[in-house]
């Protein structure tokens, strides 16, 4: 252990602001990436299920449904 106490650890020998700012931003971004990836996957699966239900309702095979646009959100209403 390089520090004697928790306050010494947080102070980082006077460099606490720099160390925690750099680590904090990195940590937030990594967590944000994971949250985004999970949300994206959930939303896509939900979308697929909704399309499947719609296809069933219309009695179609579902294969005729338009593909999800690569420009997310924009051309969705087509």
């Amino acid at each position: 252990m390089a520090f004697d106490s928790l306050s010494a650890f947080l102070a980082m020998g006077g460099h606490g602001v720099y160390v925690w700012a750099a680590w904090g931003v990195t940590g937030l971004l990594l967590v944000g990436v994971v949250i985004h990836a999970r949300a994206e996957r959930r939303a896509l699966l939900r979308d697929l299920r909704r399309r499947a239900r719609r296809a069933q309702y219309h009695g179609a095979s579902g294969a005729a449904a338009p593909p999800i646009s690569h420009q997310e959100g924009r051309a969705r209403e087509s």
Binding site: M1, A2, F3, F9, M12, G13, G14, H15, G16, Y18, V19, A21, A22, W23, V25, T26, L29, L30, V33, V34, A37, E40, R41, L44, L45, D47, L48, R49, R51, A52, G62, A63, A65, P67, I68, H70, Q71, A75
Partner: protein
Amino acid sequence: MWAFIHKLGSPKWFYGISARLSPWFWAAAVVLILVGSAWGLAFAPADYQQGNSFRIIYVHVPAAFLAQSIFVSMAVAGFIFMVWKIKIADMAAAMMAPLGAAMTFVALFSGAVWGVPTWGTWWMWDARLTSMLILLFLYFGVIALRGAFTSRDSASRAASVLAMVGVINIPIIKYSVDWWYTLHQPATFSVTSRPAMPLEMWAPLLIMVLGFYCFFIAVTLMRTRSEILRREASKRWVRELAEEVS
């Protein structure tokens, strides 16, 4: 060999194999990053010159490694897509770009924050800093270019070409510290010589670098699977899969 490549290029096969592989990469990423963080933040000795501000190295260097590796991966994927028309390569490249941009931002930000107590300035038009900033703009360019086309094929080809051309910036970043030695210090790690740091300083750095790479692989596998769901939404196996995993 060709049969294997064709199998790898099949979205359905890729979806299955990546689903089986990705838990291992997630687990490795979490363990390595947690161990590396605890070691680097609390147990590694303070630097005799920089004190504790040197602990920024444990996020700065892994992020900078990834920033460059992701761009190279994107360029390789773009090449594979252009030459062999393997769609999976393009899907992966599309999913890598935002993570690469995020990692470039982390490298620049942590470097700037580190620069204040160490160099007395958060920014200088040093060759390494400038070429990293160009890398960030290249990532923005690739992302914007992909969004600028209504046709997916045109978008993919344009993004692939920009990634393949932009990859020239990577050797410039790498050698910038040797060609124009102004502010940024030369490489911390090299293949040919032992690190100039004691083990208790570089071991956590190595662990963090490995952890970041596992994180990159895990995120890319996961997001590429999402991209398969998006692009192959009309395929029967994708529709069946959506029902199964509800």
